[in-house]
């Protein structure tokens, strides 16, 4: 197995304000890596730092075994070619409709692709997330859950090697959420796509996770496999997961 992402002594935050420190972990090829933690603990911040959107306060990040700080904008873009991201808010462009949103990465990176093929690509991704009939709609005309699903379709369109999802199933009903998990698993097993997923849903963690990272108290609280997580007798983790169980 080869390493996709490695993080060493990473310290993340905004300006001088440290949110998390002493982070060490790695994501292997074709695994589903789940990040857990209470609201506001810094999950989104870690993800965005790894993606190069927030400058790290200190520490090293390696992407595809290359240190990130040495990457110029150009090689950063080469990395982005292999990554799809589903943001917590969906982050669809509000000024264009769903079809154009999903087609945007194709448009911009492969301007010569014929319209018919582009249409086929977009509609197939949309039907994977159950939105094929809404392609004409604008993001403002979609529900939160639909935006999330559309954003996943956009993240999928260029079949990236890595997909990062920030709370993909938050705000979805149990059936849709479980279908989404199935989709992630399919993509993972059939295409070998590596996933980094932030989620709170225990059901989904049990179903999809290979490795789990729990963030708490300004740092890494737990880091191990799903089995280790489920067997642990740590009070905080059990409280956290149990609570999730009751909610679900």
């Amino acid at each position: 197995m080869s390493e996709i992402i490695r993080v060493q002594n990473l310290e993340v935050g905004y300006g001088d304000e440290i949110v998390l420190e002493q982070l060490n972990f790695s994501v292997e090829k074709s695994e589903i890596f789940v990040i857990l933690g209470p609201s506001g603990c810094g999950k989104t911040t870690v993800l965005k730092t790894i993606l190069g959107l927030i400058p790290p306060i200190s520490g090293d990040i390696y992407f595809f075994q290359k240190p990130m700080e040495f990457l110029s904008e150009k090689s950063m873009n080469r990395i982005y070619d292999d990554i799809g991201v589903l943001y917590q808010t969906g982050a669809l462009l509000n000024s264009i409709n769903l079809f154009d949103n999903i087609a945007l990465p194709v448009h911009m990176h492969y301007p010569g692709i014929p319209e018919q093929i582009k249409k086929e690509m977009v509609l197939s991704r949309l039907s994977q997330v159950g939105l094929e009939t809404s392609w004409k709609k604008y993001p403002s005309e979609l529900s939160e859950g639909m935006k999330k699903r559309a954003a996943l379709a956009r993240a999928l369109i260029l079949s990236p090697k890595v997909i990062c999802c920030d709370e993909p199933s938050a705000g979805l009903d149990p059936i849709t959420a479980s279908r989404l998990d199935d989709l992630l698993l399919d993509l993972n097993t059939l295409l070998g796509i590596t996933f980094v997923v932030i989620t709170h849903e225990l059901r989904s963690i049990e179903k999809i996770a290979d490795k789990v990272l729990v963030l708490h108290n300004r740092g890494l609280y737990f880091y191990g496999t799903l089995e280790q997580l489920l067997e642990t007798d740590d009070e905080f983790i059990n409280d956290f997961l149990l609570k999730e169980k009751k909610d679900a």
């Binding site: 959107l53 904008e73 873009n77 070619d81 943001y87 808010t89 669809l92 462009l93 911009m108």
Partner: protein, 356 residues
């Protein structure tokens, strides 16, 4: 010396919103330097205001102890207890401490933002030139889209304002000119003032209010909604993707805008001359063509072009550096308009000095 009874403050039966302010004053007056006792023996009812009062007392006087609390009251007190905050009195001391430091900080902030502004400007020029040669990196159809929006947004109002200013300055100056018997020079005055000075300035200010504000609002809300992040991880450059279409659109729109505004302003002057002074239109126009040269038109055009770029760059600068949340969008938009208008007026003054 101090009698123990005096130190004990006995609370009434009920503590509620009705008597908290009275109690607060009373307790504060009775507090001693050392050990105070507050007796809860009579308290049976206490509401959320009362709980907050007692928690406040506990926090602000270190040597206070509560006695005879009934269990139900004690439970309430614990439930609503807010942990002590770091006192911000120390912080205040720091910030008011050194005015010199404050001024230095302000200036280094200004230096930093000036550098950031100029580097954004340089980037945008680079991206625009890069686009012109490579035709990649911005969404198809976006330039014409923006051009339409800008024209639709600002042409009517720029023309209206230009016409009215043409009329106004003509009426105001006609009286003076008449006294000198120099009515015909109204044409020179209107032509010069409109083409070289007023049209660029008014157009700049209107663009700041209409186009600048909408660009900042759009970009900053995209930033807040993570759309900018999404563009980046799709391998796109937001500073190019969003700004280049707008810069090209404004570059194309401004000559049309200036041409229209000049024309309409002159028509305003011409009407005034005809109505108030009986100068025939043809004579008025002939005089304008004699007095105003193509170079004057060009200067007005270049000035407006500079102002237009200032508006779009300032709008982008404020949009991309927005703070957090929806509140940030409003603040950024206001700041962008203020910044554009201030810069336009400063630059206009510099132009006037250079071109004098």
């Amino acid at each position: 010396m101090v009698n123990e009874k005096k130190l004990k403050f006995i609370l009434p039966e009920s503590i509620s919103h009705e008597n908290v302010s009275f109690l607060l004053r009373e307790i504060q007056n009775h507090m001693q330097k050392d050990s105070n006792i507050i007796d809860f023996a009579q308290v049976t009812r206490i509401d959320t205001f009362g709980v907050s009062l007692l928690n406040h007392i506990k926090k602000s006087f270190k040597s206070v102890s509560f006695i005879n609390i009934r269990p139900e009251v004690s439970e309430l007190l614990n439930t609503f207890y807010s942990p002590a905050q770091r006192s911000d009195s120390d912080k205040q001391d720091d910030s008011t401490g050194n005015i010199l430091e404050y001024i230095i900080e302000k200036f280094s902030g200004l230096k930093k933002s000036t550098l950031e502004y100029l580097s954004l400007l340089a980037d945008e020029i680079y991206y625009t030139v890069q686009y012109i040669f490579k035709k990649r990196g911005i969404p198809p159809g976006e330039i014409s889209n923006q051009l339409f929006l800008m024209a639709y947004d600002s042409f009517p109002i720029v023309c209206l304002v230009s016409f009215l200013i043409g009329v106004t300055i003509s009426i105001t100056s006609l009286d003076q000119l008449k006294q000198l018997g120099a009515d015909i020079y109204l044409a020179d005055l209107v032509g010069f003032a409109m083409i070289r000075e007023l049209v660029p300035l008014m157009a700049g200010i209107i663009l700041a209010g209409k186009i600048g504000a909408s660009i900042t609002a759009e970009i900053s809300s995209m930033k807040v909604m993570e759309e900018i992040d999404a563009l980046k991880t799709m391998g796109l450059v937001p500073e190019k993707f969003l700004m280049v279409p707008r810069l090209i659109a404004i570059t194309v729109a401004i000559p049309l805008l200036v041409g229209m505004a000049d024309l309409v302003g002159i028509v305003g002057g011409l009407l005034v001359a005809k109505i108030f002074s009986d100068i025939p239109g043809s004579v008025f126009l002939e005089q304008i063509f004699k007095a105003v040269h193509f170079s004057d038109f060009l200067i007005g055009l270049i000035k407006t072009m500079v102002f237009g770029w200032v508006v779009v760059i300032s709008a982008g600068y404020k949009g991309f550096s927005v703070g957090r949340g929806a509140a940030g969008v409003g603040i950024a938009t206001t700041q962008s308009v203020v910044m554009s208008i201030s810069l336009i007026i400063v630059l206009d003054c510099i132009f006037a000095i250079i071109l004098y």
